[in-house]
Amino acid sequence: MQLDQTQIAIRERDFPELLDLSLHVTRVFARPLLLTFALGAIPLAVLNHYLIAWTGDIDYRDESPWQYLVWMSLLVFVEAPLASLFTTAYLGEAMFHERPTIRGVAASVAKVWPGIMWCVLILRGPALAIFLAATADPFEEPPSVNLVFMFLLAFGAGVLRAVRPFIVEIVLLERNPLRPRAEQKTTIGQRSVSLHAVNGGDLIGRWLGSCAVAGALVVALQATFWFASGVFLNNWDWGPVMTEVCAPLSMWLVACYFTVVRFLSYLDLRIRTEGWEVELRLRAEAARLTRAPI
């Protein structure tokens, strides 16, 4: 592995350039990205649908499926970091011209399961979100009180993700331990503070920008599915397929794209604040020096 030869050029970039470059990266790695993301997202998508299917069980001529769409949007929003685990692990390994296998990616995710369980599944809210969806009362009028709690959970998870966006990368790629094992080893919490604390304002700004772009992309994709359904199937009505298949699909596709954006933003933050590209260059040069005399 040549540390200064990476798949993605290492340099400082601003936020619009990161969004643009993510499109390039998504195109080049489309197949493995979709595969690894599907590995995390499909089980969650099936579970979500199973849990909230009762909200979509309506007569489309009289009612709107707003409850299903709201529940699904909130669930996907909260679960997106959990679904992105395999994709992030893949990107981390593929960065240095390696060809990671699905099995290798899954193994590298499994190695850090305590950190994932605590930091991603519990602290970031997916476990609680699934619990709220599972315990929502279908017959409650007006709409479930669980939905209110779900909004609060999504807000809390959103704030946490705005100020500490790169926890998945810290857990998976830096492999810091959850609890201090040796004197020298930095824990996930300490690493998160050292990486995020000095860039708070910038991170929040970028997160708000991401939310705006993600929202616009979901609407655009959803509208495209609707248009395609009208043109190719001559069905211009919003029906169960649009609600239960196309809408979640749009959300997960955008979540996949934003996994790439988040990964590149993580690299960018490390370049700007920690001179990651300098470290890679020095380490590569050190490796050359030890191989050959000056």
Partner: protein
Amino acid sequence: MKRMTAEQAPLDSTIAIVTPENIAFTYRVAGPFRRLPAFLTDMAICFLLYMGLIFLVSFLSFLLAGLAEAVLLIAFFLIYWFYGGLFETFMNGQTPGKRLMGIRVLTIDGQPINGLQAVMRNILRAVDMMPPLSVQAIGIDAPMYIIPTFTLGLVVMMATQRFQRLGDIVCGTMVVIEERHWLSGVAQLEDERAAQLAMYIPPDFRASRTLAQAVSTYVERRRFFSVPRRREIARHLAEPLLEKFGMRADTSHDLLLCAVYYRTFIADRVNEEERSASPFAVTPGMPLAASPMAPR
């Protein structure tokens, strides 16, 4: 003209063009998200123009009488279809929004665009805005598909190396970011001990190109890092260098890299300048007897 390609070139938003004169230019291409603020700025200007026209025509309605509506419709048509084309023709590939955001339209060969290209790529934006969304989506009960989604443009831009939308592909154009480079000179070393430590580096040491680049990158960026981070980064290269130079293991890693930088970029350059200035100069490190100017 040809595009430079590199088999193992890392992914980036830059593109290199080589002219027939064999001069290479590197451009940073602007993707959809870089272009979006410029587009929104231009839309805002168009909106202000529409408002201004409505105000003007209503003010002059007593003069125009029945022609007022026709004047308005023609003006709207012209602004909608030719605002971008005209500005890009007369402002060398820029609209006010693009100038504000520091981007410019060029041909894929890096040349300025002509009027036809400017007008065509703006007219074809209507295709890139496809597919449209019906106004029913915002609660208006009429199947009018007029809200643009830009999905087609986004997908096409994603599929091309230069982030070209359909209008760009048809007209052979691309949008690039106008670079403003500041040339930085030799980095200032605030610690004088670097020069002193440089004297202990073996005289026959010559840094390889990659080593010089690595050390230079470190010294130029080190002022942005905390002291512990400097120690952490410098350790990787300093440890093998200390071993090669036979220096004490407790030598400061940061200082050693600064010393190598001083030796490579400052001391050697000063020596070269002195050598070239004096006709009787002696090469440093060369034994006096071996010098052509040595006394016999």
